[in-house]
């Protein structure tokens, strides 16, 4: 277990929206630095509220948020310093894009950081290349597809080079190849030391990708666990009303049928197939699973 100082720590955070609904109830959570975090929960569970708390768009009505060992400073300067280091990508790209051209919109954040023009141009170029939209730099935003708009939103935040990247339902509305490309990009960011927290409904994706799973229910942070611990806590997870990842259910069913598979439970469909292929070969009896299986660890 990583005992290093967490990048974020929520201590009993509560929030009520001005028009009445309770967004968060006594929510406590730790986000380890440089790891992949998935925030799971049904619609209305409080995922977006929590992400906006971490970027300082909303402020707790009770409890506190500790960022990098210090209580979050809600002053103007404090919020500016926070947002330089913590980027938020909104769920709906129409909520984030307000410039008519791709290049302009991506340059908005870096310019707000006070960077010189040459640096901003380089960051915009690199961010657009990262999301595969270099050819659309001068395109009008309203002519882009939904997926392309989402990628522009991501580029707009990547160009600010945040230490912590918050993504609200980033996979929603993306097709499978785009989801794979985004996953690869997030992996590359984590390899550079960026902490990534994304919200999702998709337990299969979260289990395959994340290092840590955080569960929210009705505004409460009800569970946080390393993804590798999920198999051992499967019954508690089910009792919380959450579905298990299908790959885990299948793995358990295969074991109940007497088909013992070596090593750690697989985290993805591909990893399970690789494990089955290995177990089918009598000469291959590895004591540890193949490297592909743990590519997300």
């Amino acid at each position: 277990m990583n005992t290093a100082k967490p990048v974020f720590e929520l201590q009993g955070v509560a929030y009520r929206y001005p028009d009445g609904p309770q967004g968060l109830h006594d929510c406590s959570l730790r986000l380890e630095r440089g790891r992949r975090h998935a925030l799971l929960g049904a619609n209305g569970a409080g995922k977006t509220t929590l992400l906006q708390q971490l970027n300082g768009l909303l402020r707790p009505s009770a409890g506190q948020i500790v960022f990098d060992g210090q209580p979050l400073d809600a002053s103007r300067a404090g919020l500016r310093a926070l947002r330089q280091r913590v980027g938020l990508v909104f769920q709906n790209p129409e909520h984030q894009l307000f410039s008519a051209q791709v290049f302009e919109d991506v340059s908005y954040g870096p310019l707000n950081l006070g960077l010189d023009e040459a640096t901003v141009r380089e960051r915009v170029r690199a961010a657009l290349a990262d999301v595969g939209l270099s050819a659309h730099a001068l395109a009008p935003v309203h002519q882009l597809s939904f997926g392309q708009k989402k990628r522009v939103c991501l580029a707009g935040v990547l160009a600010m080079q945040p230490e912590v990247l918050l993504l609200d339902e980033p996979m929603a509305g993306l097709d499978a190849p785009m989801q794979q490309a985004l996953t690869a990009l997030l992996d590359a960011l984590v390899a550079r030391g960026v902490t990534v927290l994304l919200s999702t409904h998709d337990i299969d994706f979260a289990y395959a990708w994340a290092d840590h799973l955080h569960l929210m229910q009705a505004g409460r942070c009800t569970a946080s666990l390393p993804a590798t611990d999920l198999p051992s806590q499967a019954s508690a997870w089910r009792q919380a009303g959450q579905p298990l990842p299908r790959v885990l259910e299948l793995h358990q069913a295969l074991q109940q049928q007497g088909l013992g598979l070596p090593g750690e439970p697989p985290r993805s469909h591909e990893a399970l197939l690789a494990l089955l292929a290995l177990s089918a070969r009598p000469q291959a009896t590895p004591s540890t699973p193949p490297a592909r299986m743990n590519c997300h660890d």
């Binding site: 909104f90 909520h95 290049f103 908005y108 954040g109 730099a137 395109a139 009008p140």
Partner: protein, 247 residues
């Protein structure tokens, strides 16, 4: 949407907006200073030809974009060439005097040339490029920010309108005149709330990217801007030389 489309799709998309702005300005100056109606019409023809042949805007698209302003122009010309006369008793009479017709003709020719200059600019230059040019010309930031937001929200509103009206149509919202009126009223009410919510979320997203002090964007780079402006200056001088009666 037609103007927006060709502003991005024309051959001069990569030409410096400063050069295109200079050419349009010269067109306006030529129109206002044209010595005769014929010279004003000549400058209008030159401006149209440059837009169609140089920038590659199709003539059908050009006509469609010009249709509405040409209609207004025709209406204005007709009203200028007619005057009402009342002798003190009986009904007033319409008069078509040669002076009024000459004035209407000359004014319309100038207006036509001005229209050609402005259409040439907007059909070849996307609005964000024009706003970047205006920013360089020290137009107040507040005005430019309003332009940025209005331009973006226009497309957001259009998308919302089309999506919502399609959804209404799918549920027989326009099956009768009464239902159509009710659907449109609901749609407009809904649209107002949606736009207000969008504006609030856009504000939040700007704050999330350290915004607040103003909307600042990086303008695109035009590598041949000097050459473009030089050519535009030469062409502008030629146009003014011809239409101001110096030639």
């Amino acid at each position: 949407m037609l103007i927006e489309h060709w502003a991005y799709a024309n051959r001069w998309r990569g030409v410096s907006p400063a050069a295109k702005g200079l050419w349009a300005l010269a067109g306006l100056a030529a129109a206002q200073g044209a010595a005769t109606s014929g010279r004003a019409l000549g400058s209008a023809a030159a401006l149209v030809a440059v837009c169609l042949l140089g920038a590659g805007v199709p003539w059908r698209a050009y006509l469609r974009a010009a249709w509405a302003p040409l209609g207004f122009l025709a209406l204005s010309a007709a009203s200028m060439s007619v005057s009402l006369r009342w002798a003190g008793q009986g009904l007033p009479t319409f008069q078509f005097t040669p002076e009024a017709q000459a004035l209407a003709g000359h004014t319309s020719a100038r207006a036509l040339a001005s229209l050609a200059a402005l259409l040439g600019l907007v059909l070849t230059t996307p609005l964000p490029d024009l706003m970047a040019l205006l920013r360089r010309l020290r137009v107040p930031d507040l005005l430019l920010e309003l332009m940025v937001l209005c331009h973006r929200l226009l497309f957001v509103a259009l998308a919302l309108f089309h999506e919502a009206s399609r959804a209404q149509r799918a549920r027989l919202g326009y099956a009768s005149r009464a239902q159509a009126v009710r659907s449109i009223a609901l749609l407009l009410g809904h649209q107002a709330v949606q736009l207000w919510q969008r504006a609030r979320v856009l504000q939040a997203s700007a704050e999330a990217r350290c915004g607040g002090a103003g909307l600042r964007f990086l303008p695109p780079v035009y590598p041949h801007a000097r050459r473009d402006v030089g050519l535009a200056a030469l062409a502008s001088l030629g146009l003014l030389w011809c239409t101001w009666g110096l030639a």
